[in-house]
């Protein structure tokens, strides 16, 4: 018999270990994409369950189907447009109340539901004793205790899923509502039933969605007809109860949830986790909290880049020796073609590969910080400061790690909550002084400035980078880029020890994701710069008659006020591949004794202006590719490009012109 395809969606509020369970069920059989039109990752996995082939869709973490965030809007759209055959909901055993609000909403949908109560081990450890049969009875669906971290209970969960797929039950729990809401739901349900377009969703569920928000309706075919009726009921409910429908319904659900928790809890530990409480007294201490945060961040930074840099250079050596072999093997080819293969294609691959070690390490450390529960604390500590520049506390970590390399920092924006925060962080991260830029600054300042001044120049670049981030942050905030901020509400989960499995799997998936989504674009960018610098055929590489040189001279009027000659412009073009390549580019542009050449062609002030420009101008191709992959928007990508170029030009102009007055 042929396989039956069944779609199961896994949904829960954030921090319930949903992803761990998703990974447990699907193993490595998963693919990652994006939800249409948004920067939120969509993971889909497959596993077989008896005669069924199950497609498991990982929905973003949401507190409800009533949309108050981008994630919740995705969940709502998903429910309305492609309702799955079965829903799998995950609850955190330690905080059933918060999760049950969403569980009740899901069970209202009429889609058969299975509830997994995760973190049972930690609940038991703290002395929490739960009666899940009571929950199962009230929710009218199977409730399975599991421990996602160890896999305990997963076979039972599969069994429960199998049973529900085989013989779906569509009983719904009772949630008491004010009479006016009940009347509204009954009336609208009848109308929806008549139009017969509920797509397997319960009419009552659709009626509630109609009551909650207007715009939902355009997206569901049946509903345009009942818009007017829904709107009339909405006003009536608001008048009767004195608050909006979403709040009234939330109140009803959470009242039921509170009752359920009371019934299902046999014994309960006195307070939130005592260990977390003790740790927080130190880690979030008014005076100790920040120094400890600084130490932890330093350790993470060193961990990612201290371990990553040697791996990166080792990988670069491997690639360059293979490249040497490649150029010998292709020595029969015309020299232009040979250069294309070695310096274009192979270099493109090498550039993509050079990011592997730091991306792996970055997500290794990020997962540890996130899974341990420290991320939420860090966000709490830094929130006040970051709020001033229009971001929330979590974004600090991204910005900080941008000082090592922008690419993983941009990829890390996916842990931020809300598109608003993600987009703004993506636009700010390119202004961090990454290690590639640092190499250029160290190189140039050593040539152009005396030994006592050079370190101060580099330090000044760091200070400038902070200032630009603050200024651009304030600018984005004032212009309300990416919309107004969503209210900041963040759960502070209890601390827990991350598992090797979760951390390793996460890092591995992120690396694969980088390869798929950003890899191609990076390679194309590198090849593009090769074409500019090596064509038309027969020119000296990057010379005045190459396309790059022609471009450089064409743009000279724009760069002359900054004190940057066409040679500098060509170097900047190379810097688009990766900023550290600029050093190699100088060697091509100024043949002979590089130090003597540069110091004779470039004055200290011109060099300074060039460095300022380098600090801020367009992010490198890998960063841009990461922005494109994360934001899923060319508008944001081009925005980052133009923002960088514009600010770089203005700042370099100011440095050069004001500097010229004094020197």
């Amino acid at each position: 018999m042929a396989d039956h395809d069944v779609s199961v969606a896994i949904a829960s509020i954030p921090n319930t270990g949903k992803t761990t369970i998703f990974n447990r069920l699907t193993g490595s059989r998963q693919s990652v994409g994006n939800w249409p039109g948004v920067s939120i990752q969509k993971a889909v996995g497959h596993f077989s369950l008896g005669e069924y082939d199950v497609e498991l869709i990982d929905l973003p973490g949401a507190y409800s189907i009533t949309p108050t965030s981008e994630e919740e809007r995705i969940v709502l759209d998903f429910f309305l447009q492609e309702p799955p055959d079965v829903l799998l909901n995950v609850l955190d055993a330690r905080n059933l109340y918060r999760g049950l609000g969403f569980t009740l909403q899901m069970s209202e949908s009429g889609i058969p539901l299975v509830v997994a109560v995760n973190m049972m081990d930690e609940a038991r450890r703290t002395g929490l004793d739960l009666d899940l049969d009571v929950l199962s009875e009230h929710l009218a669906c199977p409730v399975v205790p599991i421990v996602g971290r160890t896999g305990e209970g997963v076979p039972n969960l599969k069994e429960a899923l199998y049973d529900v797929i085989k013989s779906p039950r569509r009983r719904q729990p009772f949630v008491s509502q004010p009479p006016v809401v009940e009347a509204a739901v009954a009336d609208l349900s009848r109308q929806i039933e008549r139009s017969n377009t509920s797509k397997g969703l319960s009419e009552g569920f659709l009626a509630l969605r109609a009551l909650e928000a207007d715009p939902v309706f355009e997206e569901h075919p049946a509903m345009a007809d009942i818009r007017a009726a829904a709107s009339a009921w909405r006003h009536k409910i608001e008048d009767t109860t004195g608050s909006g429908v979403p709040t009234v319904c939330a109140q009803c659900r959470f009242n039921s949830a509170r009752g359920l928790v009371l019934e299902a809890t046999h014994s309960k530990p006195p307070l939130p986790d005592a260990l977390s409480e003790k740790l927080d007294r130190i880690l979030l201490h008014r005076w100790l909290g920040l120094p400890l945060f600084a130490i932890i961040m330093l350790a993470v930074f060193e961990g990612v880049y201290g371990l990553g840099a040697p791996l990166q250079s080792w990988l670069a050596d491997v690639f360059s020796s293979v490249g040497n072999g490649l150029s010998q093997a292709t020595s029969g080819l015309p020299s232009l073609l040979q250069s294309f293969v070695v310096d274009g294609l192979w270099q493109g691959l090498a550039t993509v590969a050079s990011f592997f070690p730091i991306i792996l390490l970055f997500f290794l450390f990020m997962s540890i910080i996130e899974d341990s529960g420290y991320m939420a604390r860090a966000a709490f500590l830094m929130d006040r400061l970051m709020h001033r520049i229009g971001l929330d506390g979590k974004a600090f970590i991204n910005l900080l790690l941008g000082y090592g390399c922008n690419v993983p920092a941009i990829m890390g924006t996916r842990v931020l909550s809300g598109r608003h925060n993600r987009i703004r962080a993506m636009l700010l991260i390119p202004f961090t002084l990454c290690s590639a830029r640092l190499q250029v600054f160290v190189f140039l300042s050593a040539i152009l400035f005396s030994r006592s001044v050079a370190p101060w120049v580099v330090l000044g670049m760091y200070a400038l980078s902070f200032l630009v981030i603050i200024a651009v942050g304030l600018l984005l905030k004032a212009l309300r880029v990416a919309g107004p901020a969503e209210p900041f509400i963040m759960e502070i989960p209890p601390y827990r020890v991350p598992t090797v499995r979760t951390v390793a799997m996460r890092s591995w998936f992120e690396l694969k994701d980088f390869l798929y989504r950003a890899g191609t674009l990076i390679a194309v960018g590198v090849v593009f710069v090769w074409l500019l610098t090596h064509l038309p055929p027969g020119v000296e590489v990057a010379s005045a008659s190459s396309y790059a040189g022609i471009l450089g001279r064409f743009f000279e009027p724009i760069f002359r006020p900054l004190g940057i000659a066409w040679q500098g412009t060509v170097a900047l073009l190379f810097g688009f591949i990766a900023k550290e390549i600029m050093i190699g580019a100088f060697a091509l542009i100024y043949p002979g004794d590089l130090t003597a050449q540069i110091s004779s062609h470039v004055t200290a002030l011109q060099g300074l202006s060039f460095m300022v420009f380098t600090l801020m101008y367009t992010p490198c191709v890998a960063t841009l590719s990461a922005i494109r992959a994360e934001a899923r928007s060319w508008k944001v990508t081009v925005g980052a490009l133009i923002l960088g170029l514009g600010i770089a030009w203005a700042s370099a102009l100011a440095v050069y012109q004001i500097g010229s007055l004094f020197l």
């Binding site: 509020i13 507190y63 409800s64 009533t66 108050t68 965030s69 919740e72 330690r94 905080n95 109340y97 918060r98 609000g101 608050s243 909006g244 979403p246 709040t247 939330a250 109140q251 959470f254 949830a257 307070l271 939130p272 927080d280 979030l284 008014r286 909290g289 920040l290 939420a376 966000a379 709490f380 500590l381 929130d383 006040r384 400061l385 709020h387 506390g393 969503e486 209210p487 900041f488 509400i489 963040m490 759960e491 502070i492």
Partner: protein
Amino acid sequence: MSPSLIQPNLACRIRSLDENSSARLAQMGILPGVEMQIVRTSPFGSGTVEVMVGGADIVAIRSDEIAAMDCDLVAVPLSSPIIEPGVYRVASIAGGSGLRSKMSDLGIVEHATIEILRASPLHIAVNGDEVRLGRGEADKVVVEAHGGS
């Protein structure tokens, strides 16, 4: 709730939420009737606050958000600006065993009745004795609120 009241150990019960800014809170089960207790405030000026919700779990939230809520005070530390001379019942001592035993020696234990003679500097009367408490101690001795916000 007045922003000046926001300080650790303050407890209040939500009376009503601001419909627009608190839509998110409502969907998280932070609704009228729920009790919140401020656990700590963030560095750099207390713009972000950790609150324990319903005696169960902790969320971080901006103090503007709390200021926009309509709340009934449940318990206030003695250092709160709302404390005025009068008779109060001690709700809890939010400190370690050292502070607890010191307070207990003075007769300041849970459910004890104390009289505030002067709010600042803090003079109180316990069992007929007059006692002065320092600012640090006053932060941690929490009394039942007389209502209102």
